[in-house]
């Protein structure tokens, strides 16, 4: 394509979105069906550039009669925050999710924002057994009413597959499966197992992993066990375990793993099918079902076996993952077992170098294949309905861009030319895979059905880390009881009686406020002046190595959001420049030697930055009237497509 032609098309699609305008029908009547695809992390600029280059022929075709808008995402542009806006039509103050990570003002401890688990409160003790009389429960912290509840009231058959920020799924008659926020059976957001014959590797303390040393006898046999969830009925809550046997054949670089009647034969690099496990709580009476996949990482000089986090079995879920409860079982019986963990690709395993890039690609593509199978099944069902709504969510592009960015970014400090030569531009490959999803959709869905395809944010390089706690220390806003701050945490070392601000979360910054924080020092009447001072200094911060400004926006939450959940809100949301993101340890209260330093991790792309720099995508096969759409406008638009007026508690407005 000639450069002039490309520029013309670029200008047309973004600056004058109705350049391709042919479909005006959507606003003129109440529709019987609406289809929405959620592709996490789909960046509008990348999609458009590749489409116009001819690399994404189906997206190009879609745009010949449809539209692509750059859409405002939420501050911060984090998936649970932005998708909660999509669910409720509100800003973060209207549903109370401001970050993946919130803090408890009474303890300053980081906590997961989306849900709380309430343990069983009444027990009968029988020897070492502790029998709960009243079960515990898990509570969704996302406030606001989900838009499908309005569809339900209008008698519209709705299916919502894996939308983030909906675990446990809110009560509804709609068919829903929970997405990001769904834990594994250890109660974490993904803890994997590594069994290794390398003693040194077995001694490592890796984030999000449990590592076990395995010793082989002269016949290449070994025994190990999987440590499962704690036995809820035992006084000591000892872990439930499942033993397994390994038969290693070094010559053929393969192994057989025998576990609960399954004989799993794997060659080096191969991934198993889903294996169903049964953790017996009381033999023959009560058990906890789990599903795992195994990858034989090495089977020659070293033996290394990966077992995925213990995911909830959709056929017999131990945790609430769907509405109705039978829906996940229905899907698993029709399509086979599918991934249920909120963030299913094991990014930690690659960050920890347990995985090779190749292992991560194998796992990621299988997740995408499973999502496609569910989409195909649900789309057929949707098309057979007289009146219905379908939302289908994809995580693979987001997780892939996080991990594959450095493969195609020569300026990234973690750029690996050897892996780039071997695996190519995997980000571009993922966009090509999603182009096929567009193609399939256009082929199957009649033109008179409104289609919306949205992402929650774009993507950017993550080359440099910024530790806001270290910056606060150096600026005198945070005081520690130690001079040796590298590796310290505010929870252990902060002198709270002398500290005025602290950082928890991927974008959150808090004032140590009297009357709110346990040991608050800043009087409410002094808060505003201090906030303006900190904001000004953050915006002036310079990267000593590059001279760039790492921070381009600082939002004061009480100025921009609804007040319903202000008590949970960080006082500031820090908007990083492209190339920068919050340091990992700063997000959980840690400090590092330098304020700004290189990000040496496969987790090399990110989006938790200034929302203006990672706008979301909004594709539609109908014209919209607002040229500056926002994420919170989507639910009002869906309702309007069905002829339902926007509820007064929604901030967003219909785009048609």
């Amino acid at each position: 394509m000639k450069r002039r032609e490309f520029i013309k098309l670029t200008a047309a699609a973004f600056a004058a979105p109705y350049f391709f305008s042919r479909n005006l029908w959507a606003e003129n009547r109440a529709n019987q069906k609406v289809l929405v695809l959620g592709i996490d992390g789909l960046a509008p600029d990348t999609a458009f550039r590749m489409a116009m280059n001819g690399e994404l022929p189906n997206i190009k075709k879609f745009l010949e009669s449809g539209y692509l808008h750059k859409m405002n995402t939420t501050p911060p542009p984090q998936s649970p925050v932005a998708w909660a806006s999509f669910i409720t039509g509100r800003d973060p103050g209207g549903y109370g999710i401001y970050d993946f990570i919130h803090r408890d003002p009474k303890t300053y401890m980081p906590k997961f924002s989306q849900s709380d688990s309430i343990p069983a409160s009444h027990f009968v003790k029988l020897g070492s057994w502790k029998i709960p009389l009243k079960g515990g429960k898990i509570v969704l912290n996302r406030g606001g009413k989900a838009f499908w509840e309005y569809l339900e009231a209008a008698d519209i058959d709705s299916t919502v597959f894996k939308v983030p920020a909906n675990y446990p799924p809110s009560e509804t008659k709609a068919r829903t499966v929970s997405g990001i926020g769904t834990p594994d059976l250890l109660g974490t957001y993904g803890t994997y197992y590594l069994y290794t014959s390398d003693e040194r590797e077995a001694q490592q303390d890796l984030s999000g992993a449990r590592i076990f040393y395995v010793y082989f006898n002269e016949y290449g046999e070994s025994e190990a066990e999987i440590e499962g969830p704690a036995n809820p009925l035992k006084e000591e809550e000892e872990p439930l375990t499942i033993p397994f046997k390994i038969y290693l054949d070094r010559d053929s670089r393969s192994a057989r793993i025998d576990i609960q009647g399954n004989e799993i034969l794997l060659k080096e690099g191969e991934m198993s099918r889903w294996i169903e496990l049964n953790f017996e709580v009381i033999t023959g009476v009560q058990s906890i079902k789990a599903i795992v996949r195994l990858i034989l990482l090495e089977a020659n000089k070293k033996f290394r076996l990966y077992i995925s986090p213990l995911c909830v079995d959709p056929k017999d879920p131990a945790l609430p993952i769907s509405t109705p409860k039978s829906y996940s079982k229905e899907l698993a019986e029709k399509l086979g077992i599918f991934h249920t963990l909120g963030l299913p690709a094991d990014t930690k395993a690659l960050s920890n170098l347990t995985f090779s890039v190749g292992n991560f690609i194998t796992q990621s593509m299988s997740i995408l294949d499973e999502s496609n199978k569910v989409y195909q099944y649900e789309l057929e069902r949707f098309l057979s309905l007289k009146k219905g709504f379908l939302f289908m969510y994809y995580s693979a592009l987001d997780q892939g861009q996080h991990m594959f960015w450095a493969l195609s970014d020569k300026k990234h400090p973690y750029y690996h030319p050897d892996d780039t030569r071997r695996y190519g531009n995997m980000v571009a490959e993922l966009y090509r895979r999603f182009d096929k999803v567009f193609g399939y959709t256009m082929k199957k869905v009649p033109k008179n059905i409104p289609i919306i395809i949205v992402s929650d944010h774009g993507f950017a390089p993550f080359r440099r880390r910024v530790n806001i706690n270290t910056w606060l220390l150096k600026e005198g806003y945070l005081k520690l009881s130690t001079g040796d701050y590298d590796g310290a945490t505010i929870m252990e070392e902060a002198k709270w009686g002398e500290s005025r601000a602290y950082c928890i979360g991927l974008n959150g910054l808090y004032i140590n406020l009297q009357g709110r924080e346990a040991e608050g020092t800043v009087k409410p009447q002094e808060k505003r002046k201090l906030m303006e001072e900190i904001k000004g200094k953050l915006l002036d911060l310079k990267d000593p190595e590059t001279g760039e400004k790492p921070i381009t926006a600082v939002f004061i939450t009480e100025d921009i959001f609804s007040k319903d959940y202000q008590y949970r809100a960080p006082d500031f949301i820090v908007g990083f420049n492209r190339n920068y993101r919050m340091d990992n340890s700063s997000a959980i209260g840690g400090l590092t030697k330098e304020v700004v330093y290189d990000n040496m991790d496969w987790w090399s792309g990110d989006h938790c930055i200034d929302p203006a720099k990672v706008k979301a995508s909004l594709f539609s096969n109908f014209r919209i009237k607002n040229e500056n759409p926002s994420m919170w406008d989507i639910p009002a638009t869906i309702l309007k497509l069905f002829g339902i007026e926007t509820p007064p508690d929604m901030k967003g407005r219909s785009l048609i």
Binding site: F112, D116, P119, V139, Y189, G208, P309, K348, L506, S585
Partner: protein, 59 residues
């Protein structure tokens, strides 16, 4: 055996509001949960950090 505790009227009203919003069955259940959470955080330390690391963003 259960113990009785005294809390201010203001705290009780706030607790009732949370019970309603978050689906607890009673103020007692809420208080037991809060105590349990505090106890876990202080006695085990770092467990929430381990849980969060599974997200990948901070590993």
């Amino acid at each position: 055996m259960a113990k009785k505790i005294k809390i201010s009227d203001e705290a009780y009203e706030k607790a009732k509001e949370i019970v309603e919003k978050k689906g607890y069955s009673s103020v007692e259940e809420l208080l037991e949960h809060l105590v349990d959470r505090e106890y876990t955080e202080h006695s085990e330390g770092g467990s929430e950090e381990d849980r969060l690391k599974g997200l990948g963003y901070i590993s």
